[in-house]
Subunit: 512 residues, 2 copies
């Protein structure tokens, strides 16, 4: 890994990048561009890049990475900047590689249910495009992240219970390795091959009309009826030898730059029912969540918000939710299955003391209900001006969730925090949300102490220090605790693929 | 990689192995042991190992791998020996590492739906164990393979449509690397941690009573009701950094020896309906299969057998199925959803000319129906004594399946073969089954020519040369065509993890 901040000449680097891209406008050294790419919403200290570059094609990314190797300059990929562990902060300076101009849907196979997209595409634009075909992309980390960023961090979120995380969606990648070599992994076996399968005109991105690139080739008899919210997507196939795709999903820009993704897409479900239900105590809500997950095969979302988080949501959104531990639930699929499961789910909740069961069937009602959940993360800091976010992100086996949440609550209370807890409860993943005054080192220290205790507890339960946010800067210190000797293998892979240590240096792997 | 057959002294090697294991009975050099570990059911030429070793623990596997590195002797892991691409044939001699004595279920968490097992456990014994808990393991490659072998080859099979392949089930691994280093990957973060989550007494394996190791810790209110055949399993979580698990799933013994697996298990579905339906022509059956996959979210199996395969099955099993292209179908889940989907599926089949729709609801009827499918692979060679199997295994995007099957049939017909075709049609994966006279080099050459043409066609459609059987010896030559520059990355990873080239040498990666 690069040992410290890049000490080269930023002016010279910018000039060389302009030569390479042939476009002065996409190589920026001004303070606002640099600051925008040097910080996130969290307590991780900012550090600006020396140059921000906006490539528009794989060959431009190649050219930048080739130059970066020649100049030994760090490169940090940047998407929506919504990550929570400092992933995009160029702690050693160098180049911030902003991929947001590579935002096209390149192709869609609605029969095989596979789409090929560029990394800068946001999930909201992707879903708007897919909706016209009766399809959607399920991974929902809350923020309107880019698909490339979501793959790089193996994002997951509210739908992971049913559909899995990014690693379950990504079938193939095009990746530019350090030095500029391009590899295709997974079912993106050969560009021409997959193009034949996906076919069609590209749906182009920014600033251009999104011309449909849809192809379908069931010649006869298809009436367009779609199944309900099920995982009948592209080939589940093995690949020859070990698949390199998962090596890059979750590598957080440290092993290569993702320039194309081939992902599963899913039919919009026929029926959706959302609900919320209030509990007397937090642990009862967690136990009910586990039971709903066990009993309801059509559950897509089982989200837990504690009373503190709901108070922040009410203050931030002007809502009037009961400020008590609450489950937000959703079932989707065929109407009969969904209704039967919603009834089962209600029964399970009531067995744990759940009351005030509210169901929403129409889209507007459901959107209102999920609005609370989606703003929970923002609400916690929004209601405390000047404070920045620190979030834990452990994930434990489902059977361990109630005890892990009980432990987490006791830990933050003992350290004098009123931090709220939100959980993707059906998935065993939960967050303690601290709103920290970054100018108060003692507060930060205590929050980190709480975070460390919660991680230790999760590891002891067979869990992981990060369920969906990734490692970045914030969880590096736990990697050895969790992986043991496997960290040495990871470090060897990093050294193999990035021998100069210039791809997002200072992230993921612990200091050696 | 090792350049050629091991040229050491087998007697000395055996003596050193006896020293290491302290048990003469588990180090075998007799002809019958060696021959049993030197061949498979296919046309791949046999080559016997010098020694067969039967370890009973991870530490014994470690000791063998440490010795193998000292002596520079090849090591080939061996499970049920049911693989179809010569994976277990020790083409360079050396040690066949028979893992069948490591066959315990180590722990089961029925709430988190995760089990920890040893690699030598067969799927039938695993399922017998799980059935007592109302659970099952879905991956069904046909043969009664071991879990370790299934992970090493990323096996899939009839249920992959709904549940995915092995790579979707394996949450974590314990792997012994070349030289004897042990790493744990995935959610097997820390032995003690996961033990805490999984808890309980081990269900021990061979020759011992299978004492239940079941634990559950939902303290109250759980009535044991189980959801229907859905993927609500262990954490979908990200892991810190890139996950090393998928590097070993599908690595076919070339990167390490799997000594423990943590896998998802699923609740037995509430309702299951199986059906078969006959078509006038093969392509109509393929088109109907695609349509059933699209329209039926509760479909678990969509299997296609052509008229030639059914003729072989009838001859082998004494059945009287119509010898015409046939779909074998299964739906599972909640009763209402299953019945609705079966009706949809029937409608879709009839739109493509399907007739003689037979449904089976009771277990005995369903078992009879699936018996035909499960014996298809064996039937083809069983009815032609002295012949050995050569199977293609391409997988294409679902939208491409009808055209790919049409191409495959035309190819084998043009080359003068009456080879049958069976497809995991909902998954885009199909096999052309050749029964080859191994003493006829011209026949073998023509079959390989057909296989190559089918692979080229699949790659041009965005598919893969192997959908579930893996690479082994048989698909090595296609790796570069499919992966291009990524093969160099794979070779570099192999060199990194197995610098002496002694783990299953001569497999997966093409000759350099």
């Amino acid at each position: 890994m690069a040992g410290g901040p890049w000490a080269g000449d930023p002016g010279r680097l910018a000039r060389r990048l302009v030569e390479v891209l042939g476009d002065r406008g996409r190589v920026r050294t001004g303070l606002s561009d640099r600051q925008q790419h040097g910080r996130d919403l969290t307590v991780h200290p900012p550090h600006d890049p020396d140059v921000v570059v906006y490539p528009e094609s794989t060959s431009e990314v190649r050219a930048v990475l080739r130059l970066a190797a020649q100049e030994r300059v760090p490169v940090v990929p940047f998407g929506a900047g919504s990550s929570l562990e400092g992933h995009v902060i160029p702690v050693h300076g160098g180049i911030s590689l902003d991929l947001t101009r590579m935002d096209a849907v390149l192709a869609l196979d609605p029969v095989g249910r596979v789409a090929r997209v560029q990394p800068g595409l946001t999930r909201s634009r992707f879903n708007a495009y897919l909706a016209r075909e009766g399809l959607f992309f399920p991974v929902d980390p809350g923020a309107d992240a880019t698909l490339g960023g979501m793959a790089a961090t193996n994002a997951s979120g509210t739908n992971a219970l049913r559909y899995g995380a990014m690693k379950h969606q990504v079938l193939g990648l095009e990746v530019v390795l350090a030095g500029g070599r391009v590899v295709r992994t997974g079912t993106l076996a050969r560009g021409t091959g997959t193009a034949a399968a996906l076919g069609g005109t590209a749906c182009t991105g920014t600033g251009r009309d999104a011309a449909t690139g849809v192809t379908g080739d069931i010649a006869t008899g298809a009436d367009g009826t779609r199944g309900a919210g099920e995982a009948v997507a592209g080939p589940n196939a093995a690949l020859p030898g070990w698949d390199l795709t998962p090596l890059f999903v979750g590598s957080e820009g440290t092993l290569g730059v993702i320039t194309t993704l081939e992902v599963r897409v899913y039919p919009l479900p026929e029926a959706v029912v959302a609900a919320r239900v209030v509990f007397p105590v937090l642990e009862a809500a967690a136990r009910a969540a586990v039971e709903v997950a066990r009993r309801c095969p059509s559950a897509t979302r089982i989200e837990l918000l504690d009373e503190r988080t709901l108070a922040a949501v009410n203050a931030y959104r002007g809502t009037a939710y009961p400020e008590r531990p609450t489950l937000f639930l959703e079932w989707s699929g065929m109407p009969a299955a969904v209704e039967a499961d919603a009834a089962r789910g209600r029964q399970a909740c009531e067995a744990y003391g759940g009351t005030g069961f509210v169901m929403e069937r129409d889209p507007a009602g459901r959107d209102r209900l999920w609005d609370a959940r989606h703003h929970a993360g923002l609400a916690v800091t929004a209601v405390a001006p000047g404070r920045k976010k620190l979030s834990t992100d452990v994930c434990v086996p489902l059977s361990q969730l109630p005890a892990a949440i009980r432990h987490a609550r006791a830990t933050v209370d003992a350290l004098g925090f009123a931090a709220g807890i939100v959980a993707h409860a059906g998935d065993g993943n939960f967050h303690v949300l601290f709103a920290i005054d970054p100018s108060d080192p003692d507060e930060l220290r205590r929050a980190r102490q709480a975070s460390a205790a919660i991680v230790r507890d999760a590891l002891a339960r067979g869990g992981t220090c990060t369920g969906e946010h990734g490692v970045g800067l914030g969880k590096r210190d736990y990697l050895r605790d969790q992986h043991g000797p496997a960290v040495a293998v990871m470090a060897a892979l990093k050294a193999l693929l990035d021998p100069l240590g210039i791809l997002n240096p200072g992230k993921v792997l612990p200091e050696t």
